[in-house]
């Protein structure tokens, strides 16, 4: 049998395969080069950038929970300028599209970051993070209601010619409603989900474990919530979906694809296995071969028709 087709198109972007990295879990890519060939990935999505550098939240920033982790990094990042001069030049050497995640305190800041990045050559797309639960501003205050989400989307679309992917939060009553609003506002693709707001308490010290009190839950624990989000959004919007949340193996990734995701992103799993992305990619390929499916695109949303 011929090798199955793994290439997918997201937001006008041709990706050689559907396996991406989730923002914030893969640094700026370079960190993982000792473990895998970045050229093999569908795309690298880098840590969210803001206009100015940010120090992030106090420590502890991470705590393990059953089958998951809570993090409260708080968008620590070197700022968009420093990214462009210090990190991007080496990353763009790879034959893999670089998707840059952006965040901001205000709608104007999102637009400003988008504009700066658009002037730099070689960036494939922007992912707009309106769903970080770990910052006072620039996170959920935009992602939690349709109007705010649409406003940021419009502003970023107005500021860039790059494809715009909007990343949604699961901490809402209806993610489909937000997805709809964002799609109407011009988003070229959607990423879902960001982390679920959660908390852990240290029963010995009788205080929250995390320095920031609450954090964002990710990892296998959230996978059922994430798959449901993709399923629901797939039913109401036609823009392509990048699915993520708890993917650690190929079967997990296939759940998202069958639910309607055209690509998947791997986050927490990178911490467990630095080669997770590659092993997931190989597993998907194997599944296609075994089931004699010529093209991954045939599987997108296939669980909706049975």
């Amino acid at each position: 049998m011929k090798k199955p087709n793994l290439a997918v198109e997201i937001a006008g972007l041709k990706l050689k395969n559907p396996v991406l990295t989730a923002s914030g879990t893969f640094g700026f890519g370079a960190e993982y080069t000792p473990f895998l060939d970045l050229n093999r990935l569908g795309a690298v999505v880098v840590k969210s950038l803001t206009l100015k550098p940010r120090e992030g939240n106090p420590t502890p920033r991470l705590v393990e929970t059953p089958a998951g982790i809570l993090n409260s990094i708080g968008l620590q990042n070197p700022g968009v300028d420093s990214f462009l001069t210090e990190h991007f030049p080496s990353l763009r050497q790879f034959a893999t599209p670089v998707i840059v995640s952006i965040a901001g305190n205000t709608v104007e800041e999102y637009a400003a970051v988008a504009e700066k990045l658009s002037r730099a050559a070689g960036i494939a797309a922007l992912e707009v993070n309106i769903s970080c639960p770990n910052v006072e501003q620039g996170g959920l205050q935009f992602g939690a209601d349709p109007a705010g989400a649409a406003e940021v989307t419009r502003a970023v679309k107005g500021a860039t010619g790059l494809p715009v992917i909007v990343k949604l939060s699961p901490n809402v009553t209806s993610i489909a409603e937000i997805a709809w609003a964002v799609a109407e506002a011009g988003a070229d693709a959607l990423s879902l989900i960001n982390t679920l707001t959660g908390m852990a308490i240290d029963v010995h010290r009788r205080r929250p474990v995390l320095g920031n009190l609450t954090g964002g839950l990710s990892g296998p624990a959230v996978r059922p919530v994430a798959v449901r989000a993709v399923w629901e959004v797939y039913r109401v919007v036609r823009v392509p979906i990048i699915g993520m949340g708890g993917i650690v193996c190929a079967a997990d990734a296939l759940e998202f694809i069958l639910a309607g995701a055209r690509a998947v992103a791997v986050g927490t799993a990178n911490f467990l296995n630095p080669r997770a992305t590659i092993e997931i990619l190989e597993g998907i390929e194997h599944y296609l071969e075994e089931n004699e499916i010529a093209d991954i695109n045939e599987l997108v949303g296939a669980a909706h028709i049975f």
């Binding site: 640094g27 960190e31 992030g56 920033r61 991470l62 393990e64 990892g219």
Partner: protein, 292 residues
């Protein structure tokens, strides 16, 4: 640095009520690890525990390719680690992080270990001893029963030590000066309850050494509170030193920004966060901004 998904366990030994030493065979790590570096260990495949756990490289044998970890059981992961047996395997990433900067030839060195803090310092001691440097080693623990590796440390330290120093004191534990007379290369012991050596924190011993004004470089590992005292002593006496810090880790390789600690010397006035896994775990004592 490499990824070693199945490293065989050669031996697991119980040293004290809750401390274990595990030896493994991994020539690549044994060949490249430097003192102060660590390994990021997936204790079990699957979800329990989910994250890797960081452990210092405790000892290496470059000839046989053996490496050792020394750890204390403190929670779920280490409890599961203690159940591993010879023939089981561990999934390792490493060696990771910035190790200790070795002292200049002839520098007078002291190592200060609080409890399990001896883990990375023992590898440093191996290295120093190999280079003919015989440092003072200050070992602290809560009680005599919890003291780790005193005899092995003595073997590595040039010169002997008073034997009675190391036997557990009979009778009422009292205040006692842990300093030993044979020099260079003294091994000094402090316990919180005075059941062996000096009664009190190991930093008392360091204070004594520094007062003698003969130490030029200090390496310390132990609880944060102890390291903070070490740092302030070093500052007071104007002596250089390095400390090995701990912080909760995700990736272990600099990608997730979970493991940061506050340091001086960044762009900002007050502090900047640096990653314990990548810029550390060893920092110059004077660069760390200590919490409370």
């Amino acid at each position: 640095m490499g990824y070693f998904p199945a490293v065989e366990i050669l031996q697991q030994e119980k040293l004290t009520a809750d401390c274990f030493r595990i030896s493994l065979i991994c020539p690549q790590i044994a060949g490249s690890a430097r003192p102060g570096q660590f390994l990021h260990v997936k204790i079990n495949p699957g979800l329990e525990p989910l994250l890797r756990r960081p452990f210092s490289v405790h000892a290496v044998n470059r000839e046989t390719g053996e490496i050792a970890l020394l750890y204390r059981v403190v929670g779920r992961g280490t409890r599961l680690l203690a159940q591993k047996r010879k023939g089981d395997s561990l999934d390792l990433i490493g060696p990771l992080g910035r190790g200790f900067d070795l002292p200049a030839a002839g520098q007078r060195v002291a190592l200060v270990a609080g409890g399990i803090g001896i883990a990375p310092l023992y590898f440093l001691l191996q290295t120093l001893a190999g280079a003919g440097n015989s440092p003072d080693v200050l070992l602290g623990a809560r009680t005599a029963q919890e003291l780790l590796l005193v005899r092995k440390v003595q073997e590595l330290v040039n010169g002997g030590v008073l034997k009675e120093q190391l036997s557990i004191k009979k009778g009422r534990p009292g205040s006692h000066n842990g300093s030993l007379s044979t020099f260079p290369g003294r091994v000094m012991v402090a316990t919180d309850d005075g059941s062996c050596g000096h009664r009190g924190p190991v930093t008392d011993l360091l204070a004594g050494l520094l007062a003698e004004e003969k130490v030029e470089m200090v390496y310390a590992c132990g609880p944060a509170a102890m390291l903070k005292v070490v740092a302030s002593l070093l500052e007071r006496y104007g002596v250089d030193g390095e400390v090995s810090l701990e912080e909760r880790m995700g990736c272990g390789i600099g990608a997730c920004l979970s493991c940061v600690c506050k340091t001086r010397g960044g762009n900002r006035q007050d502090f900047s966060y640096r990653r314990v896994c990548l810029e550390g775990p060893v920092f110059k004592a004077r660069d760390v901004v200590w919490g409370d």
